[in-house]
């Protein structure tokens, strides 16, 4: 059955590609194909110990599958961890497709086919139980992403994605080969580990390879280019969905394959393995650097890209700490990020669809023109910034608690300050795009785009009220790792340090709003247009050519202070390495002089060297 599902999706990908001339029909076909993974996830829910409503279960699937292709066997099996991440991807994927039905117009067939292929690869990764199938599906996913990135026709994006994609693939290959040579088996479950340096090196290589997909500093250089130049539905899925695969793989290899006891045997720091601590620190650094760079951007997509980097850093923190609290927080952050970042990228696409502009300084005042898009963005941004009006806060709270529980004195302030930094760039999006002076007379986004955004925002609101449901969702994973699920009721989470009661927050907020309403409706009001502003008495109608929108260079003092520190970033280091390799290449090229005499002399020298070798030997 599982094989048939893969084949069905592949066939639907081909059908979508064949319908290249009819983008909408192709999109609808792909939308149906994109629902398959979601149905698969639901039908597996009972197998991993969750009670989902029975009527949602459309078909029964085998839990594991060994598929022989003649020279190798692919072992696939659903695990709680894989199920959870598949849930994220399978929910974000249909929304991206739904959005693209109206968004993608050129060469739609190729787009949809590549999207489905990337989803197939992701499913394979999440189900893989051995090194070979893991690596193969990883590469299928990576290369279908490349096909999508290529659609941008942007050399920088393609080259940076390609170089880093291959770098990551090679790091992963090296890592898994080391693991294989240590254990002599391909199958994850049969690997028994010794706590030696080889495993440490292997794990470091693997994690740095996955860090490319998970955009951790300093492997993040490709992301801003790719995120800012490709088509929005794809970027939404890439940032919201596919980047999670890096973190899935980190958890898989750190805690399933290698195991916590081996991690701890390399040394611990306050009961957290040094390996995990380093990862957490890199995560915190990523959160900070991503945030600061996001504040400096003017391109809406680049801002979102850097903010994505910053938010993904939190997941790495949680994975690094590795306590039940931290793992729940990391998974929660992964879920939130999937939904809010997909929604934000889709909203950016909707804005572009209507206005044709990406620069924040050229947009403005769309909040009244596209109110539903604005509200979706507002909720997504609440989640991003961790305002306790969406579930975004609960995730960050869990991570903070986990860090304090382990007495991490230096990581926590960095996390906090990155959280505050998120307010800055969030407001830049809100003000620059949706508030302020209206400049475009546009309509609301099309229905399919709105539906996609709102369906993504909805879970954020649900999990705000019931964070306990989320903890239920993750408890199979924690149990699988032998950790105790954190104590909770549907709307409270309790830790050893404090408690968080969402119901109290919501009720108090409602109470506060009632009070504010009472004050607010005490007097009638009239609405004036935006041109009726106090501008030191200067009538704005005299100055039509001057823009009153202050969004260009919005955080200029901030840029002035921070730019000197971020001038020489990771990108320059990578460029230096590239330059060094190029110099090597020049040297290699210089050997081939094009003069036949030289070549003859090479042969002679080689002959003499060999003879010399034999003589010495």
């Amino acid at each position: 059955m599982l094989v048939e599902i893969f084949i069905t999706m592949l066939i639907l990908a081909l059908v979508a590609a064949a319908l290249n001339k009819y983008p909408k029909i192709s999109g609808i076909v792909t939308f149906f194909a994109s629902l398959i993974p979601f149905l698969v996830v639901i039908s597996w829910s009972q197998d991993i110990g969750l009670s989902f409503p029975q009527f949602l279960k459309f078909f029964t699937l085998e839990k594991s599958l060994n598929y022989n292709i003649g020279i190798a066997t692919f072992m696939l099996k659903i695990t709680p961890l894989g199920w959870f991440f598949l849930l994220l991807l399978a929910s974000a994927f249909p929304m991206a497709i739904l959005f693209s039905i109206t968004f993608i117009k050129k060469n739609a067939g190729g787009f949809y086919a590549a999207m489905i292929t990337s989803m197939i690869g992701s499913m394979g990764i999440l189900l893989a139980q051995d090194i070979l199938s893991f690596y193969m599906f990883w590469e299928i996913m990576s290369w279908s992403i490349l096909a999508l990135v290529m659609r941008s026709h942007d050399k920088k994006a393609i080259m940076s994605y390609l170089s880093f994609g291959v770098l990551s693939a090679m790091l992963i290959l090296l890592g898994i080969m080391l693991l294989y040579s240590e254990t002599g088996t391909f199958v994850f479950s049969e690997m028994g580990f010794m706590a030696n340096n080889t495993t440490l090196i292997a794990l470091s290589l693997l994690v740095s390879g996955f860090a490319v997909k998970g955009v951790l500093v300093p492997m993040h250089v490709w992301a801003p280019y790719v995120y800012s130049r490709s088509e929005e539905p794809f970027v939404a899925f890439l940032s919201g969905g596919l980047s999670k695969l890096g973190y899935f793989a980190m958890i898989l290899f750190m805690y399933s394959v290698v195991g916590i006891s081996v991690l701890n045997s390399w040394g611990t720091f306050r009961d957290v393995s040094i390996f995990g601590y380093t990862l957490a620190f890199i995560g915190a650094l990523t959160a900070f650097i991503g945030t600061v760079l996001a504040i400096m951007q003017d391109d809406l997509r680049k801002l979102l890209a850097y903010s994505s980097i910053g938010q993904l850093g939190y997941i790495a923190i949680g994975i690094g700490i590795g306590t039940p609290l931290a793992m729940t927080g990391a998974l929660f952050q992964a879920l939130n990020h999937t939904f809010f970042k997909s929604a934000l990228f889709l909203a950016a696409g909707a804005v572009y669809y209507r206005t044709g502009k990406w620069k924040i300084s050229e947009l403005g005042g769309l909040g009244y023109k596209m109110p539903f898009t604005f509200l979706a963005v507002l909720f997504a941004i609440f989640a991003l910034a961790g305002i306790p009006i969406t579930s975004g806060f609960a995730a960050k709270w869990l991570l903070y608690e986990a860090a304090i529980q382990k007495k991490f004195l230096f990581i926590t302030p960095i996390m906090l300050i990155a959280g505050v930094g998120a307010f800055l760039y969030s407001y830049k999006i809100l003000y620059g795009v949706f508030l302020g002076e209206p400049r475009h007379n546009v309509k609301e986004a099309p229905l399919s785009q709105l539906a996609a955004m709102w369906l993504l925002v909805l879970p954020l609101i649900i999990f705000l009220i019931f964070p306990g449901w989320f903890v239920d969702l993750t408890s199979p994973i924690l149990k699988w790792y032998g950790l105790m699920p954190i104590s909770h009721t549907p709307y409270t989470i309790t830790t050893s340090l404090a408690a968080y009661n969402t119901l109290a927050v919501i009720l108090a907020l409602i109470g506060g709003l009632i009070l504010a309403f009472a004050l607010y409706f005490s007097k009638p009001q009239k609405v004036v247009p935006h041109t009726d502003n106090y501008l030191a008495g200067e009538p704005p109608e005299l100055y039509e050519h001057i823009s009153m929108h202050a969004a260009s260079k919005y955080y200029e003092p901030f840029d002035e202070v921070f730019y000197p520190f971020f001038k020489r970033g990771a990108e320059m280091c990578w460029m230096a390495i590239l330059k060094f390799v190029k110099i090597l290449g020049e040297g290699a090229r210089a050997i081939y002089t094009g003069i036949v005499n030289d070549y003859s002399i090479y042969i002679l020298i080689f002959f003499l060297l060999l003879v010399g070798w034999w003589l010495i030997w």
Binding site: I71, L132, E139, L178, V596, Y599
Partner: protein
């Protein structure tokens, strides 16, 4: 499956005979020469299939020629690898010939040379006799000079002359090696030599090995004997370069394999091959990184691939040899595809997505991305190295793969988007068929795995 037992000699004799018959056909009808050549190549390819299946059925096929018994007489010994390569060379030569189909002035000499080189390359991989192999090498080389020069530009002549010079040096070294062996052992039969090589004095053995490595190394594009490669490939037309990659160079690497496995197997030989392979790989890939000219870049990349194959051979283990077979097949398919597509620009990819996808597949396979054969080759190679703990070499290979990815990306996306694409229909057919072959092997890797596994066993046992 086997319809009739194909004698291996037919594979060589058939095209040779028809090659010499070609002037007659040309005299009768100038236009039909290309159909004639194509027909011969197709027939030969079909013969090679039969031979392949025969070998798969019966194991190694021996055939004595001219009535003398070995070790005096000439022996043809078609092993598993030989039959795979014979099939590969003949099939791909046929496909590649399709790309020449649209040329207006289809000269007699070209057709003859083409058949000649095909036949002699096949000869190298099916022979069981050292001197015989030398003769075929000479024929291959002479034919290749002509083919490389066939473009008729200054550059192509220059490249061909460089090849002639280096090829002559190589030939003389081979001859020296043969002489050394013959002087001590009084035989040129592979089996005979292999059986009695231990009786040779060590100095003579080393001397013979050195001479032969250098001589064959020129053909097999091993650093530092491969000076002719970039110039010759750059000068030749892309289709000829494609043919060179799939034919003579594969025969050369087969000869190297025979040398280090059958003829003079000793541990330092493997070590030397490993070092040479690594050097060839690194220098080839690094040189390709900055290369602007596409054909020259592909030539450097070819060098790198040869190094990779040599590394695989030098590990002399079952899995590594399987990897080597995969890499050889992958290189023959994908690199000739890329050479054929080297005139296609990024804009062409957009205009013709099928061609674009084919070239993309070729590049992916060369870089070693799953599920294409290049991946399986590298995978098995790295698995074997991981077994042996050759971490440094693994790093070198992976580093080379990154470099490869970078310059292939440049290759795929080069051009400003305004170039006129002038791929001929024949070239397109050839490109697509090669891509289809790659996909078939990608989907059904066991088709290649099982013969490769047999070949590896046979080679490790000292057979062909």
């Amino acid at each position: 499956m086997v319809m009739f037992d194909v004698p291996p000699v037919l594979l060589i004799a058939f095209p040779l005979f028809f090659a010499f018959l070609a002037p007659l056909i040309y005299y009768l009808s100038k236009k039909s020469i290309k159909f004639y050549t194509l027909g011969v190549l197709i027939l030969n390819a079909i013969l090679s299939y039969f031979l392949f299946f025969r070998v798969m059925d019966e194991g190694v096929v021996y055939e004595q020629l001219s009535g003398f018994y070995p070790p005096v007489g000439i022996l043809l010994a078609v092993g598993y690898l030989g039959s795979i390569l014979a099939m590969l060379i003949n099939t791909l030569a046929t496909i590649n010939y399709v790309s020449f189909f649209d040329e207006k002035s289809h000269s007699l000499r070209f057709s003859m040379l083409y058949m000649l080189v095909t036949a002699s390359s096949t000869g190298i991989v099916v022979t069981g006799d050292l001197f015989n192999m030398f003769v075929f090498f000479e024929i291959t080389a002479v034919g290749s000079y002509g083919l490389l020069a066939s473009k008729g530009t200054k550059r192509s002549y220059e490249g061909a002359i460089k090849y002639i010079v280096l090829g002559s040096i190589g030939s003389s070294f081979i001859l020296l090696g043969i002489a050394t062996i013959y002087g001590y052992l009084k035989t040129l039969n592979f089996y005979d030599i292999a059986a009695r090589i231990s009786t040779m004095p060590i100095e003579a053995k080393l001397m013979a090995f050195t001479f032969l490595v250098i001589g064959i190394g020129v053909e097999a594009e091993i650093f530092p004997l491969n000076g002719w490669v970039p110039d010759a490939y750059q000068g030749a037309s892309s289709r000829v370069a494609s043919f060179m990659v799939l034919g003579p160079s594969k025969a050369g690497i087969y000869a190297i394999a025979r040398l280090i496995f059958t003829l003079i197997p000793f541990s330092d030989g493997y070590e030397l091959a490993l070092i040479l392979g690594a050097l060839t790989l690194l220098i080839g890939e690094l040189a390709a990184l900055n290369q602007k000219d596409v054909k020259r870049m592909l030539a450097y990349s070819s060098i790198g691939q040869m190094g990779l194959i040599l590394i695989a051979l030098s590990l002399h283990s079952q899995i590594a040899l399987i990897a080597a077979v995969f890499l050889i097949v992958n290189h023959a398919l994908a690199k000739s595809l890329l050479f054929l597509g080297s005139r296609n620009y990024a804009s062409g990819i957009l205009k013709n997505p099928v061609i674009g996808a084919s070239i993309f597949i070729g590049a992916l396979s060369i870089i070693g991305m799953p599920p294409f054969p290049g991946f399986w080759g590298k995978w098995y190679l790295i698995v074997d190295m991981a077994h042996n703990g050759l971490w440094f070499m693994i790093s070198v290979i992976l580093f080379a793969a990154i470099v490869e990815a970078v310059y292939y990306a440049r290759f795929l996306f080069r051009g400003t988007g305004n170039e006129k694409v002038t791929l001929l229909p024949g070239e397109k057919i050839a490109i697509i068929s090669l891509a289809v072959l790659l996909v078939i092997i990608a989907l059904f890797p066991f088709l290649l795995y099982n013969p490769a596994s047999n070949a590896a066993t046979s080679f490790l046992g000292g057979g062909p």
